[in-house]
């Protein structure tokens, strides 16, 4: 487990060098950079779109709240990559503290979920998707904010899966807004339930699960 190795290593470093601050700084920096890079490379292979589906089907929003912005039982996951390393997020999923359950995910699935939750606020360079209203009933404006200048031809699609069949809006063009980093369009949801917003931009597709209350 990279997470456990990392923790043990940090403890060892701190034990041996005690109070010599500059050596600590030197050693931990030297030691942690390759470890973090290792952990990051392991989770860098995670597929955020698969992670989004896992997050939706595992009921994470039940405790972490609508759009994972925090609920009455569990904290927000938005921006989690700024508070925890990828290895720490993975450990929290594989060996969680109750009441969070374990799901018995494979290493690949954990990597997928880490990749997805690490990008909820655009932290991994992906655009941020926000809905207005945040908990839509039948329609919402979908705002997509890019870190840099929005790419040309960005589109979104909202779909709801019904077993093997899915239905949705088809690809909708995103329009400019008063914010130079944000594109938007209005989406109509034909029924309440679990939906997925796909954003297609610069040759990539990103998935964001949402809940429509109907």
């Amino acid at each position: 487990m990279p997470a456990r190795r990392l923790t043990r290593y940090k403890m060892k470093v701190r034990f041996y060098v005690g109070g010599i601050a500059w050596i600590v700084t030197l050693l931990t920096t030297a030691a942690l950079v390759p470890m973090s890079a290792h952990a990051a490379s392991m989770y860098a292979h995670g597929d955020a779109t698969s992670g989004a589906k896992l997050v939706q089907s595992s009921g994470c929003a039940g405790c972490h709240g609508s759009a994972l912005h925090g609920g009455s039982v569990a904290p927000s996951l938005v921006g989690i990559e700024k508070r925890m390393s990828a290895a720490q997020i993975a450990k929290a999923i594989e060996d969680p503290k109750p009441p969070m359950p374990r799901f018995g995910f494979s290493e690949k699935q954990v990597a997928d979920v880490v990749a997805y939750v690490s990008g909820l606020d655009g932290g991994s360079g992906k655009p941020i998707v926000r809905l207005n209203p945040a908990n839509p009933a039948q329609e919402a404006t979908v705002n997509v904010t890019f870190r840099d200048t929005p790419p040309q031809g960005a589109q979104i699609e909202a779909t709801m899966q019904m077993g093997s069949m899915s239905h949705g809006t088809g690809w909708l063009p995103l329009h400019k807004t008063s914010d130079p980093h944000t594109l938007a369009t209005k989406v109509h949801f034909s029924m309440g339930g679990p939906w997925m917003i796909h954003v297609k931009y610069a040759g990539k597709i990103m998935a964001v699960p949402i809940s429509v209350s109907g």
Binding site: G62, M191, G214
Partner: protein, 471 residues
């Protein structure tokens, strides 16, 4: 009148009968229905109704053969009755307003007295208006001395807090409640993209035995124990799928009745008002989550932890909220539908009835049987001893949990296939979009009027009801 402490329990783990309780000829108790403020979870405050000040109502337990005498006090502020679901009992005890009794007025009382049976996991609830939505339900277990004893016997009521405004909207066919059935469920597969879901109610919290996870009371088990779970879906409109992390479940009883052949599944499918007895063995230390699966983002609330000693603070093993690739309970599986032909075994049938289930269009407040709504539906008239066959064809796009009072029938065929092992039941889900189902039963219950209706309460209130009437 004094309630027997062993017969009326708020705890849901069934303790062995005390000698005192087991020897009593009659179990006496008072059941008071009154307004109740239900708080299953922080932020959820629901002004509902409760029996004896709790949702669900008290778990009632009797030994088979004991007499039950329940003094029902109605303090709800409106009319009410108690229906004893799944019981074969005198017709005047059946609790159907204007059919088997005059409804009990507010402030009034009614004495329900009968010998509960057949044995098994059954339940009781109001049969008036929206009172089942509001919280008037509870479980009753009639011990069967023939049953294999369990090391731990647990009664679990899965229930939900409704969003009140959606009930009336559903009755008028204009609800916009969300679709919450899990991926891979037959309910989801029956939907088409242009469906508007006008007839579904919405729920704001999902509970097990009166609380939401993580506030649900954990169940402590030990390695080597055989655990019997008695599961009731008291939701008035939605099917529940229930799964125990890391375990398969052996289903032995359906609606309290022993299945011809137990079936092992990864998940239960529990239609409205159905009960399933499911067993598992604890083979190693651990903590696992028994949970209702749904696409509702709040579905996670409907869960309870089962753990071995020392694992109280461990993270429980959960399950994803999907049925794709999951072997879940179906009637076809339990009845081995794929091994026999299209027709059930030949036998003498004295009375045949056939119903087309219809209605439910957007904006409509009618759910129909052969085009008619209660009380104008075609009745089934029987003589004592008749063999009766009832056939349904569902032309709507929703499942219908059809329920017959006062009898246990056999589900003998569905969707053009006979079941090798007919299933003894009192409520069955009829598949949508042309699904068919055939029941058979012997008219050997006490004389009277036994209603037959859809147990989706929105559909029942909108007219999907008829009756079996003894001459």
């Amino acid at each position: 009148m004094r309630a027997s402490a062993s017969a009326l329990m708020s705890a849901r783990v069934l303790a062995p009968f005390s000698a005192d309780a087991a020897e009593q000829e009659t179990i006496d108790f008072t059941l008071t229905a009154a307004p109740f403020t239900f708080r299953p979870f922080p932020g959820i405050v629901y002004n509902g109704l409760a029996y004896n000040g709790d949702i669900p109502g008290p778990l009632i337990r009797v030994r088979h053969g004991q007499r039950l005498r329940a003094r029902f006090l109605n303090r709800t502020g409106s009319l009410s009755t108690v229906h004893w679901h799944g019981m074969i009992l005198p017709n005047s005890m059946d609790g159907v307003p204007y059919v088997t009794q005059e409804p009990v007025p507010n402030g009034g009382e009614y004495l329900y007295e009968f010998v509960p049976g057949p044995p098994g996991s059954r339940w009781y609830h109001s049969h008036v208006g929206e009172q089942l939505f509001q919280g008037l339900f509870g479980m009753i277990v009639i011990d069967d001395p023939r049953d294999e004893p369990a090391d731990l016997d647990v009664a679990l009521v899965f229930h939900d807090v409704p969003k009140t405004s959606t009930i009336a909207a559903a009755m008028y066919g204009i609800s916009t409640a969300p679709m919450v059935d899990p991926p891979g469920s037959p309910e989801l597969l029956a939907m088409s993209p242009d469906d508007k879901m006008g007839d579904e109610a919405a729920y704001v919290a999902h509970c097990v035995n009166g609380a939401c996870y993580p506030r649900t009371r954990p169940i402590a088990v030990r390695v080597g124990q055989k655990i019997r779970l008695r599961i009731l879906n008291a939701n008035p409109t939605q099917t529940r799928y229930i799964r125990l992390g890391g375990h398969t479940l052996r289903v032995t009883h359906s609606d309290g009745n022993s299945l011809p052949k137990p079936v092992d599944v990864e998940a239960l499918r529990v239609g409205v008002a159905e009960r399933y007895d499911a067993w598992f063995e604890v083979t190693k230390p651990g903590a696992w989550l028994l949970q209702g699966l749904s696409a509702d983002p709040m579905a996670f609330e409907q869960a309870v932890v089962i753990h071995t000693p020392g694992m109280e603070h461990a993270s429980p093993l959960g399950s994803p909220s999907t049925l794709e690739g999951v072997r879940f309970f179906t009637y076809e599986l339990a009845g081995a539908a794929d091994t026999v032909g299209t027709e059930p075994a030949a036998m003498r049938i004295d009375v045949r009835a056939a119903y087309v289930l219809g209605g439910g269009a957007w904006g409509s407040s009618h759910w129909t049987m052969n085009g008619k709504t209660w009380p104008h539906t075609q009745k089934i008239i029987v003589r004592r001893g008749d063999h009766v066959e009832v056939h349904f064809k569902n032309k709507t796009d929703m499942h219908h949990p059809m329920h017959l009072h006062g009898h246990v029938f056999e589900l003998v065929a569905m969707n053009g296939r006979a079941l090798r092992y007919p299933l003894p039941k009192d409520v069955t889900l009829v598949d949508p979009n042309g699904g068919t189902m055939t029941w058979r039963f012997a008219a050997t219950s006490p004389s009277g009027r036994w209603v037959l209706h859809c147990h989706n309460d929105v559909h029942m209130m909108d007219g999907m009801m008829t009756e079996v009437r003894y001459r």
